[in-house]
Structure formats: structure tokens, C-alpha cells
């Protein structure tokens, strides 16, 4: 589904991704962990097509297509979804209106009829249940005045509405209380259907108790430096990153 080869990217002349290799197959859940500033959000941004991030090398194939050649909206329409680490507020635009526009754009790109208000409302109500979202939230402006946790939940709600084939969750768990964490994880699990893939960026192994990953990777200095199963997350929780940093820095200096 997603194949990243030797990806290099920089922002403001500063190289952040240094030859990253990574593969996601349909239905897989990959967790990415790594110290602050190691490039996790950068990877997510590059995949979503954010302009400030300049790709300086490598390739990214998504379902046989060159993802890097596509503009951000086409990537989204092709099924790439990013749950933002810091969701943006759009004053005056209701969540419902925003999502209706988005859903119908995605449908249009697939040659499907636009949903009318009634059909849309019905789907929205189903998905709202999934993330236990209050009806009032859909009438409020996109993320405006939402608490940190509400914003994150709203991202998952949007994901549920858009039904992407690859969802990248950037620290969706941070800032969530215990109940919200469970709700968000349930939302994600409900969308796991054996075909849809997830890249879950997190700092906490706790999330991975709820969303059990197939693989866990460590991103450090713009590269995947270690991969393993869920056990790797437990090991990191216990030992921190120093042992990995030492390993990597030793080989880099060698």
C-alpha cells in the first residue's frame, strides 16, 4: 500500500528526514515512536503533502502511484488521512458543513454522487456514536474553542466520516483523559477492517494497549532505526531511548 524508499526531506534548509525506509501493507497497524524532534510529525507532513517540507530525495509510492507527485487534496481524495497533532481552528465554519464539503469532494473524485443533507446527516449520526461525540459539537465551528481532547476526538470523527485507506495519527493520544483515550482507540479499532492501514505516532505505550500494533518502529534523527513488535514499545517504556541513541550514534560515528 505505502512504500517509502530512502526519503529525505528538509524544512527551512534544515534536513530532517535522512533516508527513511518504511513499508505499510493493507490492514497493518504501525506504531512510530521516537524522541522529540526526531522527525515523526515531519514524516506525517511530508506524506500529507505540506508545502514547507521539501522532499530532497527518495520516493513514496501509494497504491502504485507516486504520492509525492500529487497535491495535498488529491492525496486526501486517494485515501490518505492525517489526524493532526495540532488541529487548526476555522471560525464561522460549522463542523458539519466542513465535513459535508470534504466528504462530497472525496466522493466526487471517486465518481460518486454528492450526498444530500439528509443522507449526510444519517451517516454523521452513525459516526458520532462511534466516537461518542455530542451533537452540539457538529454545529460548532471547526475546532474553535474545543478543548485539546475535543480537538483530537474531532480528528477521529473526521477520519470515521472520510473512511480513508491509510490513516496517520500524529499523537492523537496526547492530551486525552483515560475515557477519551478509550473512546478514540475504540473508534480506530472499529475502523480496522483488514484493509485499512494505520500509522500511529505516539509517545506512550499505553495507547498501544488499546490499539494493538502489528509493528513498532523507532524514528531517530530522521530514520527508522529500530523495528519490532509490540514488545519493543514495552522495552522503550522501561529503558527509554538512550540505549538506541547510543547504538545509532556509535554506527554514525564509526
Amino acid at each position: 500500500m505505502l512504500t517509502i524508499k530512502d526519503l529525505k526531506a528538509s524544512v527551512e534548509e534544515k534536513q530532517i528526514l535522512n533516508g527513511l525506509n518504511f513499508e505499510v501493507k493493507p490492514g497493518e497497524v504501525h506504531a512510530i515512536m521516537g524522541p522529540n524532534g526526531s522527525g515523526k510529525s515531519t514524516l506525517a507532513s511530508v506524506l500529507a503533502g505540506r508545502e514547507e517540507y521539501e522532499v530532497t530525495g527518495g520516493e513514496v509510492m501509494f497504491n502504485g502511484e507516486d504520492l509525492l507527485e500529487m497535491n495535498p487534496e488529491d492525496r486526501a481524495r486517494a485515501g490518505v488521512f492525517l489526524a493532526f497533532q495540532y488541529p487548526v481552528e476555522i471560525p464561522g465554519v460549522s463542523n458539519a458543513n466542513f465535513l459535508k464539503t470534504a466528504v462530497n469532494e472525496v466522493r466526487k473524485s471517486k465518481g460518486l454522487e454528492a450526498l444530500d443533507s439528509k443522507q449526510f446527516l444519517k451517516i454523521m449520526q452513525e459516526k458520532m456514536k462511534l466516537v461518542e461525540m455530542d451533537k452540539a459539537m457538529t454545529q460548532r465551528s471547526v475546532n474553535e474553542g474545543f478543548s485539546g481532547g475535543e480537538k483530537k476526538r474531532n480528528e477521529i470523527f473526521q477520519m470515521a466520516m472520510l473512511e480513508p485507506s491509510l490513516a496517520i495519527l500524529d499523537e492523537t493520544d496526547s492530551g486525552l483523559d483515560i475515557d477519551a483515550l478509550r473512546i478514540v482507540a475504540n473508534g480506530v479499532n472499529a475502523l480496522r477492517d483488514g484493509k485499512r492501514s494505520f500509522i500511529v505516532i505516539t509517545h506512550y505505550q499505553r495507547l498501544l494497549d488499546y490499539i494493538v500494533p502489528d509493528f513498532v518502529h523507532v524514528l531517530y534523527k530522521g530514520r527508522i532505526v529500530k523495528s519490532g513488535t509490540k514488545d519493543l514499545a514495552l522495552e522503550l517504556e522501561e529503558k527509554g531511548y538512550d540505549w538506541i541513541k547510543e547504538e545509532v550514534d556509535a554506527t554514525l560515528n564509526a
Partner: protein
Amino acid sequence: MSDDLKILEDVANSEYKWGFVSNIESDNAPKGLNEDIVRFISAKKNEPEWLLEYRLKAFRHWQTMTEPVWPNVTYPKVDFQDIIYYSAPKPKVQLDSLDDLDPEIKATFDKLGISLEEQKRLANVAVDAVIDSVSVKTTFRETLLEKGIIFSSFSEAVHEHPELVKKYLGSVVPYTDNFYAALNAAVFSDGSFCYIPKGVRCPMELSTYFRINSAGTGQFERTLIIADEGSYVSYLEGCTAPMRDENQLHAAVVEIVSHAEAQVKYSTVQNWYPGDKEGKGGIFNFVTKRGICLGNKSKISWTQVETGSAVTWKYPSVILKGDNSVGEFYSVAVTNNMQQADTGTKMIHIGKNTSSTIISKGISGGRSHNSYRGLVKINKSADNARNFSQCDSLLLGDQCGAHTFPYLEVSNKSAKVEHEATTSKVGEDQIFYCNQRGISTEDAVGLIVNGYCKEVFNQLPMEFAVEAQKLLAISLEGSVG
């Protein structure tokens, strides 16, 4: 609009009753302006002596005046002797089918979601089923007549209700007011007249849309609205269909009189041709709009969505004369490419406990310039007057300009005046967020800007608001980048 639609339906189902065709000889006045031309216009319209006198006085006064130069706009000087001041209303060119319509206009119709039937009507396509505006208007008028509401063209009102026209014409905007108001008073072509009797709530939105020959009267339009004690009316000016006009200069005057406990809500969507991307062509729109709250607790609200014209110069104002009267101004002004707008309002507080609200949203893209100019004046007599002003500017690029010129004159210590102003840019973050959800940049800008203008759109009648939103998106095309 739903009322209007109902009328359309009713009319479509009923027989054509009073089909009359106005038979005006099709001669134009020669170019230029002098007393003879003023007399010519008046004679053509078969006007009473007093109105000719009024026009002549206005003309003589106009000759002593010079064009205002204070607005923050630049444009080539208008040669007032190079304009034809009277041309008989021409029948619109009839098209055989919508296929003959200018594809650009057709595309805009489609984007606005205007129904095919309506498109045919607007484009004057010759089809049997097309509802003739004359008959629509007749039915429309009957409903109003039952309530004693007068809604007609200005010229008709001059003949049918001379006492009302004589009493109120120039009572809010005297011809001495400004250069363009004087010019309009001298040469106005036609416009609308509306009178709501005491205690009557007008049951439908009155729209200039339904006026005969309205397309031909655009250049020097004159509108007079009188709401008698305790009455209510919502009036819509303009329609959101694309407007093309060969007349470059537009100088309209709108006067509103709101008596005690009466309420007038006046909504405009203005989308005159803005010129091309390089600023060639386009309408100069120099409008004087003013209302007076004459009695206790009277209210006037202006809501405007301005997206068209090359140069706009417009300050819908309210004179709050009656105690406890209320003035409101809600405005969205969009400029793109080379457009220039200098718009705002004046709230003149005279009565006690008067209050006014100003919400202005200026949006500029391309290389356009967008200025808000507003005056809040609290007279000595206006005890406990209150004003709240909020003027927000949104920049869509870095080659456009937004300017705010708030003027405040307070002569009464009990006044409470609040002014807030912000300038912001459409955030890259917001656009990217929309992109990431599958929404193109152009649609994203439309969405974000519509959200930004929500407070103003909320003031518009529902159907009008929907079209205004679409219109906004269309006029923003290519504004970012």
C-alpha cells in the same frame, strides 16, 4: 425568497392577465449634460412641473460642485459630458435558447445553482413557459395591495402617489448632500418606490428583482422607502445573477424613512462587473444610501454584500433622530484583482438612548484595495447613546491592501462607544487542513472566508444568504497565490 418562489409558481399556473407592453419611443438623448437634457428627461417621463423644478435645482447646484477626492480610490476622471443621460429602455435581446447565452454567464448561473427556469427568465430566453416579469409583478402587487402596501417603479409613484413622493423625495438625501447625489437628483432614470402603511407588516420580502425594465434603470437609480408608524419591511436590492452593463458610471440614491416603531431591513448584494484581471472596464459605483429613524423606537438595518464594481464608494448611513431608535450596518466587501472599494457607514446619533451597531468585514485579494470608512457621531442631544463597531480585514495575499478609517465625534459625555478592529490573513495552516480533507485550495478559501463573514450573512434572508455565499466563492477565484 420562498414567498417569491410561491408567487412564481402561482403565476405559472394562472393565466396571463394584464399583459401590457410599455410603448416608449426609442430615442436617446444626445451625449452630455445641460438644462435641456434635464428637461428632456423630465418630459420623456411626462413628469409634473414640481419634479422638473426639483431636477433643475439639483442640476444647478451640481454645477457648483466638484467631484470628491477624499475616498481612498484612484480612477480615471469621469467625463460627464461624454455620457448619455437618457436612453429609452431597450427590450433585452431575446435568445432562442440557453445555448445562445454567453458561456461565462451560463457558467456563473450554474455555479450559483440558479434553476434552469430562472436562468431562462434572467437571460430572457424566448420560451412559452417563461414567466413574464410583468405578470409576476401584477400578482405580487395584488397581494401587497390588499395590505395597502405600495410597491412600484419610481416613475409610476410620481404619477400615482405624487403627494408621498413630493413629501419625502430628498428629505433624507438632499440634492445638496454630495456631488453624486446632486447628479442623481438631476438625471435619475427610475428606481423603486415603496410605502408601508401604519401598523402593517409586509408579508414578503420586497425585491427589485420583480420590477419591470429594472435592467435598463441601473445607471442613476432612485429608491425611496417609507415605513409608516409601527410597520415592517424587508427589502432586497439586486440579484446575484451576473450583471453586465455598458454604463460605466453608476450613481444611485436610496432614501429610507422609518417612522416611530417602524423597522426597515435593507439588504443588498452588489455584483456589478468588476473589470478584467488587469482592471480594464468595470463599473464605477458611487452610491448614496441613507435612512432616517424619525420616531421613537424606529429601526433601520443595512446589510450589504459587495463583490462587484471596479470602484465602489458607498456609505449606507442612519440618522438616529427618534429617541430609542436603532441603526445597524452589516457589511461584507470583497475586492479581488484590481478592484477598489471605499465603503462603510455613518451613524448619526441625535435622539436619546439611540444605539448603533457596525459589523464590517473587508476581504481583499489580488492587487485590490479595500477601505473601511466609518463615522460615529454622537450629538449633544443624544443622551446615553451607544455604538459598537467591529471592523475586520482579511488579506488573501500580500499584494492587496486593507485600510480602516474610523471617525468618531462625541459631543455627549454619557455616550458609550466601543471600537474593535482586526487584520488577519487566511492561514496557510487553515488551507492545508482543508486540503488534507480533500478540499481544493480555492474551495478552502471560499469556506474560510464564508466562515469569516458569517455574522453578516446571518443577517441576510436565508435564500439570499445561500446565493451570496456562492457568489463570494466565485468572486474569490484566483485570489490567492
